[in-house]
């Protein structure tokens, strides 16, 4: 059925070798994929929706608004700016809600772990103590679980908190915090900001677009410095902070002779339990009995990123490949939880032995098997799921694994890893990074985050990354974007010499790192906030994030979460460029988003469809910051004499009686 290889006219090119290989197989041609659906649908995206001017908030409409045409305001009189802002804010709220619910689950799992009710444990005690300090919790002479329980409870309280501010905000550069305070966008509680956003964008409430956008900013901060950050940090404490490790990525990681279980979705609680259960002798014996050599767990989408980063479990496919993974016919079960699971997956496996197993009461779908993941018995749930999958192994029919399509990746670049790898256990710091940005070997930092979709060619991430690397911009990647870059070989350390400009190549070679650093899943974009903050705190690159030569992008963004992420980066002072944004339907909102926000938060959004031009815009933005910092010119080597050493600690300057002083008689 698939015409996508040669026939699809509405969708862009498929360049991924594994996808192409698979789609050429007869068995995959039977599968109806997103490529086919795009063509079959036959209609292009609605212009009002794309520009953000379709208002479906009340039942007087839906109203399509045309900016500047007096007759084409909403029935209620809502202007284009109001409608675009309301839609935009609601997107941010939805994205924040997704991260929030994910984070809430993690925090609750964390609390249960602290209570000893799960098979997990508090692994990263150093980080536990660091978090305790942020939450003002005593650590001396206290058991780690006791500390963890208190952190967990305080963290959980921040979701429902009604007043005050979130604890993690104080991790930001001071200047940033002052801006938030002055603008009145410090989130009070995580859920409250989502609810208030929904309320304020209800019919007839907030109708001043800048005021709506202010709440969108506040809501996004509740995500980035709230929910997402809580999730990342507590997950690290529980499952271990990622360290560098080798792994494989792409469809070729599926194994012919093993029970292939793919884990798709976002929350690592289930995935971690599956990892543990997959090593259980009982389960392994069961697999053997079914004729399989073992159990091959492989990740898809951001759950894939979570276990890739922490355990080196291979990733079979990203969002865009979820149907492909199943089309191989080699997967016994795809275990899904929440977010970014296409309803089509249950259809792709029709007629195959594969089961789609939904595990979360929030997320069910027709034609899937539901096996609820019981938080009080994660290992039991995981074993039941694996047992079910093993049962399918014998039923496996024709299958095709593009075996040669697997790429080596080096992953695990948490903030802690970056800190460590630049100086070792005794000299860990961001100094070498800052130094080499200041001296120009590294032009700046480019964050490549977000999703994938089918509107543009699937090599957009790659094209942007290549352009950035060539221009000595170090790339930090998360989410499905990271997987896309991994599939293209940019997470091999060897890639530095192949793709980077001279300066960046030299730094990568010095450290031994790949030029694209995999920082984690989409919820882990909070790691980038911390990394940017550390750069500021290390000194020499400005007083807040807006001064750092860095720029972010989420090309091929698909999910509402991406907009929430983009918004919290902008509100935190980082310049962000997407390929498109649903704001073009209002000149005022467009102007505010791409310019006006800068006056408020020091950064703004931008968009550019063409990947190369987008990369060049990022480079230009980074150069602009370098100019402003005065580091974009040749710097002379500073040589230190004694007076300058004395000056290191203020105090008196200059010499005493030369050649006398202590020791001389």
């Amino acid at each position: 059925m698939s015409k996508s290889k040669g026939g699809c006219t509405s969708c862009n090119d498929i360049t991924g070798a594994s996808t192409k290989d698979l789609l050429n197989q007869d068995l995959a041609k039977q599968v109806r994929t997103a490529y086919d659906r795009i063509e079959d649908r036959g209609v292009s995206a609605c212009l009002f929706g794309s520009g953000g001017t379709c208002c479906r908030i009340c039942n007087m409409g839906p109203c399509q608004i045309i900016d500047g045409v007096e007759q084409m305001v909403g029935v209620c009189g809502a202007t284009a700016a109001t409608v675009v802002a309301r839609n935009f804010a609601r997107t941010v709220a939805a994205g924040t809600a997704a991260h929030t619910d994910h984070a809430r689950e993690m925090v609750m799992g964390f609390i249960e772990t602290a209570k000893g009710n799960t098979p997990h444990e508090i692994k990263d005690v150093e980080k536990l103590h660091a978090m305790a300090e942020i939450f003002g919790i005593e650590t001396e002479d206290r058991d780690k679980n006791e500390i963890a329980l208190e952190i967990g409870e305080k963290a959980l309280a921040e979701f429902g908190q009604q007043q005050g501010t979130l604890s993690m905000l104080k991790r930001a550069p001071e200047k940033q915090q002052e801006i938030w305070k002055e603008k009145g966008v410090e989130p009070r509680g995580i859920d409250r900001e989502v609810v208030e956003t929904m309320h304020r964008t209800h019919m007839g409430v907030d109708q001043e677009y800048k005021n709506i956008m202010k709440q969108a900013a506040r809501c996004s901060l509740a995500d980035g410095w709230g929910a997402s950050m809580l999730s990342t940090e507590l997950t690290d404490i529980m499952f271990g902070t990622p360290v560098p490790r080798r792994a494989l990525i792409d469809l070729g990681v599926l194994k012919e002779d093993q029970v292939n279980v793919t884990v798709h979705g976002h929350e690592p609680l289930l995935a971690e339990a599956l990892c543990m259960a997959a090593e259980d002798p009982e389960i392994l014996a069961l697999a053997k009995k079914a004729g399989a050599k073992g159990i091959n767990l492989a990740g898809v989408c951001c759950t894939g990123n979570e276990i890739l980063m922490r355990r080196g479990i291979p990733v079979a496919g990203s969002f865009i490949q979820q149907e492909m993974v199943l089309a191989t016919g080699a997967v016994e079960a795809m275990v899904v939880d929440v977010q970014c699971v296409m309803q089509s997956v249950a259809q792709v496996v029709k007629g195959k032995h594969t089961d789609i197993i939904t595990t979360n009461y929030r997320a069910k779908m027709p034609d899937a098997v539901h096996m609820q993941f019981e938080e009080e018995d994660p290992l039991g749930s995981a074993k039941a799921i694996l047992t079910h999958a093993i049962g399918n192994f014998k039923k496996r029919g024709d299958f095709y694994i593009p075996k040669d399509n697997k790429l080596d990746v080096v992953v695990g670049f948490s903030h802690e890893t970056i800190n460590y790898m630049l100086g070792g256990r005794f000299r860990k710091s961001y100094r070498p990074l800052n130094d080499n940005i200041i001296n120009g070997r590294i032009k700046g930092i480019g964050a490549l985050v977000g999703c994938e979709h089918y509107k543009y060619s699937d090599d957009v991430h790659y094209k942007i990354a290549v352009e950035l690397l060539k221009n000595n911009v170090l790339v930090l990647a998360t989410g499905c974007a990271a997987q896309a870059l991994g599939r293209m070989g940019l997470m091999r350390p060897e890639a530095a010499a192949e793709y980077c400009g001279e300066g960046l190549a030299e730094v990568c070679e010095t450290v031994g790192m790949p030029p694209v650093l995999h920082v984690g899943s989409c919820v882990d974009n909070s790691r980038l906030l911390i990394a940017l903050t550390e750069i500021v705190k290390e000194g020499g690159l400005g007083d807040d994030i807006s001064e750092v030569p860095a720029c972010g992008t989420a090309p091929l963004w698909m999910s509402e979460k991406a907009v929430a992420i983009g918004q919290y980066f902008v509100t935190s002072g980082a310049h962000v460029i997407f390929q498109n944004l649903p704001v073009t339907g209002s000149k005022e909102m467009d102007e505010f988003i791409v310019n006006g926000m800068k006056e408020e938060y020091g950064a703004c959004w931008d968009y550019e469809e063409d990947p190369i031009k987008l990369a060049q815009k990022m480079i230009k933005a980074i150069d602009g910051k370098r100019d402003a910092l005065g580091i974009n010119k040749k710097q002379d080597r500073v040589l230190f004499d004694m007076e300058m050493r004395r000056d290191l600690d203020a105090g008196a300057t200059g010499q005493g009686i030369p050649g006398m002083g202590c020791g001389h008689k």
Binding site: R427, L433, E494, T510, A652, P658, G661, G663, K665
Partner: protein
């Protein structure tokens, strides 16, 4: 290629740890786990391990945990492809290397006690000195503190050509750096080469042969660690503080000659942790991006002609060397050089012939700047062994010049003349003694060069107070007599003026924060009757220094109201010290050991400590290595008093202060002193007797015990009772 270097360093570290651990296992079999291990005479245990991990290795068995730490630091080897980041693991491996080498060297001290000379200079049959003990360390460490030595070059191996080796050494000396020598290149060591070139080797000339094997690199790094502990107030175990301190303040680097082995790479990687880069003459890979070190990390293929210049540039060091136009090398590194009997060409003063030096100020129009005259024969006119008298008369003028500054300028003569390679100066005033070496004469030394040096350097260093300088040298009997007569009159007048000056007569005291480059929270208060505890800076120096540089490290302090004359509390002093120490020291007494005693950077000449049983105070000088009645040696006591901390009962003092009327005034003065090392008591005997006589107790001198009477408090207590020492009758001081 960082990858090649990191891979080699990790391999090298592995070999070194294996070697050290096997030597440890043998040693345990031979000596048992309880056998004490230590570097000679140091309070810092194995200093790298102590400063990085806070662990005290005192017995062989203590090493077990450290080896475990080494193993845990060791990364897997770097793979050929799809490697994991290797820089950080290589730095960790380098650190593990130093831990292992320190233990290896400590075990060698057990196995081969005579391997190193443990002296300041080479002996007749061995030039490897071994680790610096705390006496050498404190004496030399302070040069790092006050800036006269900006850092050190840790040299592995040697250039093949002895002439080139000597040239590089001299060039490093001229940059005031210490040269620490380790290991060999193709069987030849750098001290070998220098001795061949008749270079004087030893701590005195800053050319220090540490040890024949690369494992002795830990003596260099351990020295740096101790500087941070002793002067920087960095706590043991505060590895980040220690490493940062050294990166910012100790301008050291590694210089490697010849092929670089895995083991050398491991040591180089270790040194990078301290911010010390490696400069190599060999064709090895480079690591140029900056960050862990201030600038590049490894620079290679540097020609010998450029290697010193390159090294200091890579380390980011600025050495302002003023060119003095004389044919001999010149600089602080030559200050400690001696002219021995065999090297001697001739000498002046020192009892051989009359010798005198003096500096006086005159009116501006009486002086022709730059004029250097010699009345009498010059070196070229005399034969070897023919000694002549010498008179040096320096006349200066300046709008800011005061007669009070004359002795300060005159005191510079000693080290300035010593800075000349091949010239040795001792004493001062009319007991001066100048020895002129053959090497200097061969290079064309003339007496006039003394004038050139004094003119040039005094201008340079005292430009703020002196505008014109002329130097008149005499080698005739009559000329020298004339200078001597003039000098005698000047000295008498000066001594009278100084003797009359007390803390009560002056309203202004001076601060000294010269050491803040190394001890950030320490502030000295210098009063007319209490000179700096380093023994080098007196009140007049403070005043002159302030005149030279009004924003400098010596600031006038209006002493303000005296709120307690016995303790020496002054309102103005407290206010100043509180501010200058950034709140660390809110109150300081000028005359008490027990109440808010003055802090110290660590470069004190001696330490005073309360002995509770004896109800008295002991004072021990830096050079005394033995045990004291406090139960601690000098080095341990130094740990109590240094680093800018206020520890009642422990205080750094100068020898000069020992005979001041303000000595321990709060505790009862000299009558409280119960114990001194004999060497110190002898040194200050004349003045001490005077002080005892002044308080009407001439018999007190003999009541003060030394190590001859004992080194425990009990022994001393007995002695005091027997002698009827007044301290026993005084009210309790604790």
């Amino acid at each position: 290629m960082s990858k090649i270097i990191c891979s080699a360093a990790i391999r090298g570290a592995q070999k070194i740890i294996d070697m050290a651990e096997s030597s440890y296992e043998d040693a345990v079999k031979k000596f048992g786990e309880d056998k004490e291990v230590a570097f000679p005479n140091t309070a810092y245990f194995l200093p790298i391990i102590y400063s990085m991990l806070g662990a005290k290795v005192e017995k062989l068995g203590d090493m077990k945990d450290i080896f475990q730490e080494c193993r845990s630091l060791m990364p897997p080897v770097v793979t050929g492809d799809i490697w994991l980041p290797y820089l950080a693991p290589a730095l960790d491996a380098g650190m593990a290397t130093f831990f292992a080498e320190e233990m290896y060297e400590a075990i060698r001290y057990l196995n081969e006690p005579d391997l190193y000379t443990a002296t300041e200079d080479p002996t007749a049959d061995n030039f490897w000195l071994g680790a610096a003990d705390d006496v050498i360390f404190r004496k030399r460490g302070v040069e790092f503190v006050d800036g006269s030595a900006p850092g050190f070059a840790a040299i592995l191996g040697t250039p093949k050509d002895p002439e080139m080796a000597a040239k590089i050494a001299i060039e490093l000396q001229e940059k005031n750096l210490y040269i620490f020598m380790h290991d060999q290149t193709e069987g030849i060591s750098l001290p070998d080469q220098l001795l061949k070139q008749k270079q004087q080797v030893g701590w005195g000339t800053r050319l220090v042969p540490f040890g024949r094997e690369y494992t002795t690199a830990v003596f260099s790094i351990g020295f740096a660690c101790r500087v941070a502990l002793a002067f920087g107030g960095v706590k043991p175990g505060d590895y980040a503080g220690n490493l940062k301190y050294n990166k910012d303040r100790t301008f050291a680097f590694v210089m490697a000659f010849g092929d670089v082995s895995d083991e050398w790479y491991a040591n180089a990687a270790g040194a990078i942790n301290w911010g010390f880069p490696t400069i190599s003459d060999y064709d090895i890979p480079e690591i140029l991006p900056t960050g862990v070190c201030t600038y590049e990390h490894v620079v290679s293929n540097v020609p010998h002609e450029e290697i010193v210049q390159k090294a200091i540039e890579v380390r980011g060091l600025k050495v302002s060397v003023s060119k003095i136009d004389i044919p001999m090398s010149f600089g602080p590194a030559f200050e400690g050089e001696r002219v021995r009997k065999d090297d001697l060409f001739m000498e002046c003063g020192g009892g051989r012939t009359p010798g005198v030096e003096v500096l006086i100020s005159k009116d501006m129009d009486e002086i022709e700047d730059g004029l250097v005259t010699l009345d009498g024969v010059d070196i070229s006119d005399i034969e070897q062994g023919h000694n002549v008298p010498l008179g040096i008369l320096v006349e200066v003028a300046g709008r800011e010049m005061q007669s009070d500054f004359e002795p300060i300028l005159e005191r510079q003569f000693h080290h300035l003349m010593n800075y000349i390679q091949g010239i040795m100066h001792m004493g001062q005033r009319n007991i001066m003694w100048l020895r002129i070496g053959k090497a200097a004469v061969e290079k064309g030394f003339s007496f006039k060069h003394l004038g050139v040096v004094l003119h040039g350097k005094l201008h340079q260093e005292f430009g703020a107070i002196v505008d014109k300088i002329q130097v008149k040298l005499y080698t005739t009997e009559e000329g020298v007599q004339m200078v001597s007569d003039l000098a005698t009159a000047v000295y008498t007048e000066r001594d009278l003026r100084l003797g009359a000056m007390t803390d009560e007569t002056e309203d202004v005291f001076y601060s000294c924060t010269l050491c803040q480059s190394f001890a950030p929270s320490h502030v000295c208060v210098i009063t007319p009757e209490r000179i700096g505890m380093c023994g080098a800076y007196n009140w007049l120096d403070g005043k002159a220094s302030y005149n030279i540089n009004p924003t400098g490290p010596n600031q006038p302090i209006e002493k303000g109201e005296c709120t307690d004359p016995d303790n020496g509390y002054y309102a103005g002093i407290n206010e100043f010290v509180n501010q200058a120490s950034r709140g660390a020291v809110p109150e300081v007494s000028c005359y008490s050991l027990m109440n808010n005693p003055m802090t110290a950077c660590g470069c004190f000449e001696a330490i005073a400590a309360m002995l509770p049983t004896c109800n008295g105070i002991m004072v021990v000088n830096r050079d005394y290595l033995g045990m004291t009645p406090s139960g601690m040696k000098f080095t341990s006591l130094a740990g109590m008093a240094g680093g800018g901390m206020q520890t009642p009962g422990f205080m750094g003092v100068s020898k000069h202060y020992m005979t001041s009327k303000k000595l321990f005034k709060a505790e009862g003065g000299i009558k409280r002193v119960v114990w001194l090392p004999k060497m110190l008591k002898d040194e200050i005997a004349d003045k001490l007797k005077d002080v005892c006589a002044d308080i009407g107790m001439p018999e007190l001198f003999d009541m003060i015990a030394t190590e001859e009477q004992g080194t425990t408090e009990e022994e001393i207590h007995e002695f005091l009772k027997e002698k009827g020492h007044p301290a026993l009758e005084m009210e309790t001081a604790v």
